[in-house]
Symmetry: C2
Subunit: 265 residues, 2 copies
Amino acid sequence: MSARIAVLGLGEAGSTFARSLAVHTAVTGWDPFAAAEVEGVRLAASGEEAVADADAVLAFTTAAHSADALTTTIAAAPRAAVHADFATAAPVAKVELADRAAAAGIRFADAAIMAPVRKGADRTPVLLSGDAEATADLRAILRDAGYLVEVLDGPAGTSAARKLLRSMLVKGLTGVMVESLRAAEAQGLSDWFAEHLVETLAGLDRPTLAGLLDGTRQHSGRRIEEMEAAAEMAEATGGRADIARAVAEVLRSVATDGVPDGGRL
Amino acid sequence: MSARIAVLGLGEAGSTFARSLAVHTAVTGWDPFAAAEVEGVRLAASGEEAVADADAVLAFTTAAHSADALTTTIAAAPRAAVHADFATAAPVAKVELADRAAAAGIRFADAAIMAPVRKGADRTPVLLSGDAEATADLRAILRDAGYLVEVLDGPAGTSAARKLLRSMLVKGLTGVMVESLRAAEAQGLSDWFAEHLVETLAGLDRPTLAGLLDGTRQHSGRRIEEMEAAAEMAEATGGRADIARAVAEVLRSVATDGVPDGGRL
C-alpha cells in the first residue's frame, strides 16, 4: 500500500505517527504551532495544502480542534479520502464528526491510541471504528508502520468509548497518585510514601484487584469515614482532597447502586 | 511474654487479631454486636469486664467509637495498661486520645494495619507509634503472634498519617475501579473493560508509574478535556462521574501547584 498521507497536528502523538509512517510512504505534515522538522515528513504551508492530494488524513488534535481539522479535510482533500480523528472525545462528538464527513463525501474513522506513545515506539495499540472500508484502509496503512491495529465492529464512537474508559482508569489512577503524594509531602512523608506507593501498585494482580472490589462491597460504610479522615488530614495542611472526597461519594452510592461485578476480574 | 490481652471490637480485624493472639496468651474479647465465638478467646459480658485485668487493650473500632473504647479502658483497666487504638482516623484525633489516656495514667499506642487482614493471616504489617514503652510492649505481644511490626519514632498520629496516605492510594484506586467499571457497564463494555483493567493495573511497574506523573506534568491541559469528556460519557447514561470530575480539578491545579516529584519513584 502506498497511500499519500497527511498528518494534521505534529505534537507528541502526531509527530511519532508521521515519522513512522514516512518510512513506508509519502507523508505531508502540518501544524499551526510546530515548526520543527519531523524526519522524512514534508511540511506543508497550510492544512489545505497538506491534505490536497491525500488518500488518508490523520488528525491529531485535542477534542476542541477536531471539528477544525475535519473542516480542512472537507475543504481541500479529494472526495473519498479517509479522515481519521485521533482526538480523545465523547462518543457523541465522534458521531457528529462522522455525520458531517459523510455528508461531504469523506469517509470517517474514529481512532483511539490505547497506550502512551513513546518517542519512536511503533508497537502502539490503535483501535479503529466507523466506515468499514475506511477502517480497513487505515489498518493497512498503520500495520505497515508497525502499529498494533484492531478494527472494532461498530460505528464512530465505539473506539472513543473504550479510550475514555481507559482514560477514567489511567488518569484516575494518576490523579490518585498526585493527590496522595502531595498529602504525603505535606506530612513530611514523601520518601516513605513514594516507596509504599510503588510497592503497592507494582504488586497488583487479579486476585488483589478482585479483593479490592469485594472489600468495598463489605466495608463501604467504614471506608466513607476513612476517606473523610484522609481528606481532613490533607486539608488541615492547606492541601486538596478533591479525589478523596469524590471517593467518599462513590462509597456512599454503593449502598444503593452496588459494586460492579468483581467476579469478572 | 505472657500478657493478659483484651480485644474490644470483634469484627474482621479484631477477631483475626484475637484468634491469633489467643494461641500464645490469654485473650478476652468483647463486642456489643458480635456474639459469635472466636476460637480460644474468652468472651466477656461487658467492655469493663474485658479490660479489668488487662495488660494491653487492643481496640478495633471505627474512628467514631475510638473515644468510647478508650473510656472503657480508663474506667476499668489497671493503671499503666497499654491502650492500642487500631481505628483509621486523622492524626489529630489520635493525639486527642493520647492526651486523654496520659491524663488518666494509661499508656497509649497509635496502631495502623497496613494491608488487608485476611482470615487467619498473621503476617499482616502493623505500624506503631506513641509512648515508647507502650509500643515496645505491644511489639513484643504482636510479634509473638507472627505480626510484622514496625515501631515508628514519633508520637501518636504518626502511624495514622501513614495509614491514611495508604487509604488515599488504595481506596482511591478502588474508587476509580468502581466508577470506571460502572461506566463500562453502561456502555455495554463490561467484559472488555474488566480485562483491560486487569492487564493495565497488573502490568504497572516503577518506570510506568513515573511515566504517568511525567505525562501529567506535560499534558495536564489536554487531560482536563479528556476527563471532562469521560465524565460527560458516564453522565449521559445516568451514571456518576464524581472521581473523573475531581481528577479534572486536580489536573487544573497542576498549573499552579505542580506535580509531586516523580523522580523519587
